[in-house]
């Protein structure tokens, strides 16, 4: 069963003084997220990531389309007991302490009173807020608020967690901890759907990603597939600083770094390159397919493409 099935969700706001000018925030979006995967929803600022998440959370009503979450209609309020949500740059009731906040959210999520105190203690420890559990949130730094936000999202042990820019406001250590936490959630069998514009986080964490730009889905697929050898090139690394003429004849682009040489050449020249190095008795260190970085793929997908009718479209992988 798919964890999330988005079936043509679309949002158009009416803007201007008389609210007569339509502005499409999200174009009809079709997307499926499988259970147990970490799914990255990527896009630059203003791409429509947060609007999509808000539609799924029932905070914003779509202009058209529907969605299913964990096999049920996304408008079913009871499904929310199995969902965790961290909004972008979260704010909380600042007159509450971290412990009181989580206790309150536990009550709203229907966590039984006998389990609540234990569960609150566990998540506070998980996000590193145990020592300041009695401090009012108005005294929290941005990073601490983000941790409290993550704690409230996982408090009720949801099957599916939505994180909107979860690394925002965190220092490098905090980002590492959040990455670890997301991997831990995946190991526990939970589905994680998170939006980000930090591609290194997505590349390190995600099983699959989708790229959205100007409200339009531009690409979706497994990270491994998107970063595959689409250029048809290999990288050859050998010991020393010598660059044989035969290698240059193969069209290799060579760069000397310290006591190694890195050469990039066409995949079909791979065997010829190995032979050339053997003839010169040069020690080969590695041959690896040259992978496109997620960043390169992302940048490529942000470029508009044209259909014969002139309409700009995205492509799915």
């Amino acid at each position: 069963m798919a964890a999330i099935e988005i079936l043509g969700l679309e949002k158009t706001y009416m803007v201007g003084f008389w609210r007569k000018r339509p502005k499409r925030a999200v174009q009809p979006l079709h997307l499926t997220v499988e259970e147990g995967e970490i799914f990255g929803f990527l896009g630059p600022n203003g791409a429509g990531k947060t609007t999509t998440l808000k539609m799924l959370m029932g905070l914003v009503f779509p202009t058209s389309g529907t969605a299913r979450i964990l096999g049920r209609e996304w408008t079913d309020p009871e499904i929310k007991a199995q969902i965790g949500f961290l909004p972008e740059q979260p704010y909380f009731y600042d007159y509450l302490t971290a412990h009181e906040l989580l206790d309150y959210y536990g009550q709203l999520s229907g966590v039984p009173a006998k389990d609540r105190a234990r569960r609150v203690g566990e998540v506070l420890q998980k996000v590193g807020l145990t020592d300041i559990r009695g401090v009012q949130l108005r005294k929290f730094s941005k990073g601490m608020l983000q941790r409290a936000g993550i704690a409230q999202a996982i408090l009720h042990n949801p099957k599916l967690v939505f994180f909107d820019e979860p690394m925002s406001g965190l220092d490098p250590l905090g980002r590492r901890e959040v990455r670890d936490l997301m991997e831990q959630l995946k190991q526990e069998g939970k589905t994680v759907f998170f939006s980000t514009h930090i591609l290194s986080d997505a590349e390190a964490l995600c099983d699959r990603v989708a790229i959205i730009h100007k409200g339009e889905l531009r690409g979706v697929g497994a990270v491994e597939d998107l970063t595959s050898t689409v250029q048809g090139k290999v990288e050859v690394i050998w010991q020393g600083t010598q660059i044989p003429a035969s290698m240059r004849a193969l069209g290799a682009e060579c760069h000397v770094t310290g006591d190694t040489v890195r050469a990039v050449l066409a995949e079909n020249q791979q065997d010829a390159a190995i032979d050339a190095l053997r003839r010169e008795r040069i020690r080969l260190i590695a041959i690896t397919p040259l992978r496109t970085s997620l960043e390169a793929y992302f940048v490529e997908k942000l470029q508009p493409s044209q259909t014969p009718s002139g309409r700009t479209v995205g492509t799915a992988v």
Binding site: Y13, K80, F92
Partner: protein, 258 residues
């Protein structure tokens, strides 16, 4: 009542307490004790009248000001600060949120009124040295003041569900002032003719009739309050509150939380 409504109401009450809303009780206590001492020194035989008038009017005004200034931010502040996102992403219906907020604010005002009522009775005891049987009517006046709070809370919530805090405050306070003269407005409507009569009558009956809920002067003069008025005011306040709350829910159910 849904457990979630109780949790939201309790949290709203806690917010009011922690935001030091109940500190107004100190100002009220100072006002009343000062007035009681002052009245005790300068009035002859009307101490009781002055203390009841002043005390109950202060209970009403303090409560109305709190109801408006907390009520107008109950929804809009949650949207502005985005605290609502983490509440509505849980199994909480939007109507439960509105109703929970209403009960939280109403509870705050009832607790506030309870402590103020103790102050009024204390001041009365100070100037009159004993309670008289008609003083029980003060409880009826307090009950009507609480009914007034319920209406104001629901109106503030209604305005807060679609408008900014500033505009909500203007709307709610204007309705309070107009509603305090609702009887006069109805009298004026009776004198008008044609389309004007139709409009003024409609307006007079649409605004909340706070003048019917104000029996402070009658109680101070020890005039009896009929059971019929108590029943009528109770039903009127409950109907008006339910209507305004339903309006707030209808608007909020359709609102995009951008």
């Amino acid at each position: 009542m849904s457990a979630r409504i109780i949790h939201i109401a309790r949290n709203t009450f806690r917010e009011a307490v922690r935001d030091r809303v109940l500190y107004n009780l100190i100002a009220f206590a100072l006002l009343l004790s000062g007035a009681a001492i002052f009245v005790g020194q300068i009035s002859i035989d009307i101490e009781r009248l002055v203390v009841i008038n002043l005390g109950l009017t202060a209970v009403s005004l303090f409560g109305v000001v709190i109801a408006i200034f907390i009520g107008i931010g109950l929804v809009s502040k949650e949207i502005e600060k985005r605290t609502l996102y983490t509440v509505l992403s849980r199994p909480v219906r939007r109507w439960e949120f509105i109703v929970g907020k209403f009960f939280g604010l109403a509870g705050t005002l009832v607790v506030n009124a309870f402590f103020m009522a103790i102050g009024v009775f204390g001041a009365l005891l100070y100037v009159a040295h004993k309670f008289a049987k008609p003083d029980a009517l003060i409880l009826v006046a307090l009950y009507f003041i609480i009914l007034e709070f319920l209406i104001i809370c629901s109106l503030a919530l209604l305005f807060s569900s679609f408008s900014s805090p500033l505009l909500s405050a203007v709307f709610a306070f204007s309705l309070f002032v107009i509603g305090s003269f609702a009887d006069d407005l109805r009298g004026f409507a009776g004198l008008a003719h044609g389309v004007t009569r139709w409009f003024t009558t409609a307006a007079a009956y649409m605004v909340p009739n706070f003048s019917a809920l104000n029996v402070i002067s009658a109680v101070a003069h020890q005039q009896p309050i009929s059971a019929q008025l108590i029943l009528h005011n109770t039903l009127y306040a409950l109907f008006y509150t339910a209507t305004a709350l339903s309006g707030a829910v209808l608007i909020f159910e359709r609102r995009n939380l951008k």
